[in-house]
Symmetry: C2
Subunit: 226 residues, 2 copies
DNA sequence: CGTTGGATTGAAACGGCTCAATGTTTGTGG
DNA sequence: CCACAAACATTGAGCCGTTTCAATCCAACG
């Protein structure tokens, strides 16, 4: 019986969007959110589908990707706990353009359009959080698009590695969070080219491959300077 | 004396974001917005600048672009009356990543962070409008990024032309709203290649060039099918 | 221990860019 | 209204980076 509440609690409490609310407000939101789980490989939604829910990742991760006309796949981004998707269908009543696929066992919570709109009206500060998130995403996507047309594959790979590192790092070792195939798709190239370019970067003594998914950044400055 | 009010009125009345509000609310917003004009080529803001205003185009148009590390320019999009920019700096207190340049004599109106936040709290429906706009922009930017990596230059040009046409068109004639240089940058190529590809499309009887900026779409289906 | 899928490497083909020459408009001043 | 300049558009040739396809290598896993 408390099961349902627990589910809701675990769902919402993690979400940065609602973090700033007090316990009472949080409870109200929990009432409106529902929880759902997906096995690895299952689709939370797919392009062409309509939907009226905002989906927030609770545990696990979602792979957002698009298919071009020709069927080629483009990894758009990966959603981690606390991040959300579905805003296009939700706010614009359009069909999804992305596919959202669980990369591992993943649980999400979902809020319907009408519930969310009521919440936004009642607690306008929530919308500021969402606005923040969306404007960040616009920026990231535009940055990515700019890189596709103005930088070489090698530069994009180097930028990606440095981005992974972040400003604060002791060891200078990054762990690739994506399969090679997805990494390649994300930076707009092929697995073969990723392999070749990593090799080149290593030969230039800019990086060192520790294991298949661990890479030590030896020279951050020159990686960006390429 | 009524001068200032007129300026405000002309400013806000055009803006879709606020369209749904009643006259009294509109008046209140007018009080908080300020108006500014730019000559062709002037920058409304530039990358690296901090700012705490949302900028809404009132008349004219703004060219939003980025510069890559190497100095290459990427046209991100063009803002027409009613559209806004500045959300990254405003909601996230980050520096601008884009340059915003007037393409012609242009007037904008601006609302400061604190004024806007107050408005959002007071009239939550405004935030729904902004949410709509931002989620649309995320979608557009992701679509653009996907095209860069999954489609050929020829396909991107063709898609661009068809997008210009829109679903409703009598004549099937599109008017290029951008200089060739900007068009090329927008679709991620060079003016030379645009020229060559337009020629090829014409030789395939998919389009017909009427004048330098007018193009007749002869075969929309096959343009997308390339 | 074999099988299967991913990662690497090689060779060849191709698409698009650069640079340079030529052609075409546009606008301006005589 | 014409002439000329300056900017822009087109075309050509050569080059370079990346993809493709195929072969091989490696590693994880049943």
């Amino acid at each position: 019986m408390t099961n349902k509440n627990h589910e809701h609690k675990s769902c919402v409490s993690l979400v940065p969007i609602f973090n700033h609310l007090d316990a009472e407000q949080m409870n109200e939101i929990m009432e409106t959110a529902s929880s759902q789980s997906f096995k690895k490989g299952e689709l939370v939604y797919h392009a062409g589908e309509t939907s009226d829910v905002l989906t927030i990742v609770n545990k696990g991760s979602l792979r957002l990707y698009r298919l071009s006309e020709s069927g080629k796949e483009q990894l758009v981004r990966v959603l981690r706990p606390g991040e959300f998707t579905g805003e296009l269908a939700l706010f614009n009543e359009k069909v999804h353009e992305n596919y959202a696929e669980a990369m591992e066992p993943t649980s999400v919570c979902q809020i319907t359009r009408s519930d969310l709109q009521a919440l936004l009206i009642k607690y306008p500060s929530i919308s500021l959080k969402i606005l923040q998130e969306l404007s960040t995403r616009v920026d990231q996507s535009e940055t990515q698009a700019t890189r596709f047309t103005t930088e070489s594959t090698e530069q994009r790979l180097a930028s990606y590695l440095v981005d992974l590192l972040g400003p604060d790092s002791q060891t200078n070792i990054v762990t690739l969070p994506l399969a090679k195939k997805d990494l390649a798709s994300y930076i707009g190239t092929t697995p073969e080219t990723v392999s070749r370019k990593l090799k080149e970067l290593e030969e230039m003594n800019l990086i060192k491959r520790i294991s298949s998914s661990k890479i030590k950044i030896l020279d951050e400055d020159n990686l960006l300077f390429l």
